[in-house]
Subunit: 329 residues, 2 copies
């Protein structure tokens, strides 16, 4: 499902990161960074709650708004039952819709919010997405303290939260179009190779978005996927070319941008719901405002990984949602 919008803008954004991201090349673009993984909380899960809450505080302050100006918050994260988002929502106290597309959650939230703003059903919306490396690793694989070795195709869940303030006020970056992705399952079972799981979903969504908007790849100054990582990025380029006959140009992946290139600590790059919006709302928006990019297509990619289902020997489905972003003319 592809939609186009006339009156939806991301007026303001807020980005907050943990220690690994703070050490990365984009640190100067983030609003706030922490040197430890607890942020004064007792547990990683509660630390993630704090990240979301703080990102919304920073967002409202930057937008010079209060929570009473916001009609709806749309948010999700990787923790079971979206608990980071839910507990944050209890403190933030804005009418709340929980959404989940794994690491594509940020764009799902933007699409739901953009649709409501465009239709006048909401005057303003806050969308948020978050992830916490240790919270996610413990839940999906093994506690980080176990120190288990991992293959090089592994991606490294970003610790951070990113929020956006959406309204029909012509300020910031324009949301121009969106495509809701279809869930794909090509039979990949490797929980240490999410790039391979997600690349086919990304390809399908990019193809449909271009087809439905009658555009060519070069319509966009930058096509950027969420968290395919070094290897997933290669797979996507190959797959788009062989399956759809489309050569991806001006293409990058936020997983490959958030950490220093060649940093072995983070394997094939970043991942998690926070990865795509952290890079987009900070560095990419900055480059757009400086004139480097006028039109970008962001495709957030989500591996719908369930440890329960993988233990039952099922493969991992994936989904990708796309959103077209433009500099205001």
């Amino acid at each position: 499902m592809t939609n186009q919008y006339d009156n939806v803008y991301i007026n303001e954004t807020a980005t907050i990161v943990g220690p690994y991201e703070k050490k990365g090349p984009l640190n100067s673009y983030f609003d706030k960074g922490y040197d430890d993984l607890y942020f004064g909380s007792n547990t990683w899960e509660q630390a993630e709650v704090k990240l979301i809450e703080e990102s919304v505080d920073i967002l409202l302050s930057k937008a010079q708004k209060t929570k009473f100006d916001v009609d709806v918050q749309i948010s999700g994260d990787l923790l079971n039952q979206l608990s980071a988002s839910n507990y944050a929502a209890a403190r933030i106290a804005i009418p709340f819709l929980g959404v989940y597309s794994a690491c594509a959650t940020s764009v799902e939230a933007l699409i739901v919010g953009a649709n409501m703003i465009e239709a006048g059903q909401a005057k303003s919306a806050v969308t948020s997405a978050s992830s916490h490396n240790n919270g996610a690793e413990k839940q999906f694989r093994y506690p980080v303290e176990y120190g288990g070795p991992k293959p090089k195709t592994t991606t490294f869940t970003v610790t951070g939260a990113a929020s956006a303030y959406l309204s029909y006020n012509k300020k910031g970056i324009r949301i121009e179009s969106s495509t809701v992705g279809t869930v794909k399952d090509l039979g990949v079972k490797d929980v240490f190779h999410m790039g391979a799981v997600m690349a086919p979903a990304a390809a399908d969504t990019i193809y449909k978005h271009l087809k439905n908007t009658k555009r060519k790849v070069d319509y966009y100054d930058l096509i950027v996927t969420g968290d395919l990582g070094i290897y997933g990025k290669r797979i996507l380029k190959d797959y788009m070319s062989t399956e759809y006959g489309i050569t991806l140009k001006n293409y990058d992946d936020t997983a490959c941008m958030i950490y220093e290139e060649g940093n072995k600590e983070v394997y094939a790059g970043g991942s998690g719901p926070a990865c795509a919006p952290l890079v987009t709302y900070s560095y990419i928006f900055d480059q757009m405002k400086k004139g480097k990019y006028k039109k970008i297509l962001l495709i957030a990619t989500g591996a719908l990984h369930s440890p329960t289902m993988v233990n039952q020997k099922l493969s991992i489905p994936s989904v990708a949602h796309a959103i077209g972003l433009e500099v205001i003319e």
Copy 2:
């Protein structure tokens, strides 16, 4: 956030249940019922995937549509990572948005879908919600086979799936209004008393819905909550009266309707995302079409229960979303 709609209709619904619900008083209203909890699948989780898939098959068949007629599916369930919905979506292959409000998921999906239909962003949408008793108990409390005793305030997760076909075609039941709920946390930590957890969220949403639409309780022929159960229902009535000065009349709770009254096997009544839509789409819609009710307000209630957070000694937040449904004039 409250919205009103002019052009959104639930054209068709499909309901499918497990053995406990099949033995209940509403069985003749459901489209299909199974006598065991596996439905030919190997595990409870995969059984739930099958329920959703089958409910969408039945829905499309009743609506005389194919999946190619549907712009978007909006669905959620209780399994971690919404895995029942995600795996079903991979098979159904309609553009997919995952949503989560625990047992209020069905109404969150209806609200997101209704907003898109009203605005013309989607011509048609399928919304689904499901739950599986054994899958949910295993994940949130203890495997059912342990046979642990439970207090009488416990509710019993319904096994079933319910799907609805939404479009702007004037047929079926009209969606007239909606209110997105705000997350509430009043400090309740008892995982065996979800009615107490959720009643304040239900009260807040009912109050705001009536206030924002400038209506009194008696505007509706029936006000029906999702799954407060026997004790939660009493708490809600008390709480609405003492906190908001509102006396709930013509009020019922789907948790108290889906099973035989006094059935000790199900404790205080039904629960789970499937509970509210199973009863509403079958028995209540039937009564509406027969003229018993013209206008109803459905408030699905969700305990945002995270076993991880409860183990960390935190209380349980909750949310309730409301939707106004009317017979077409």
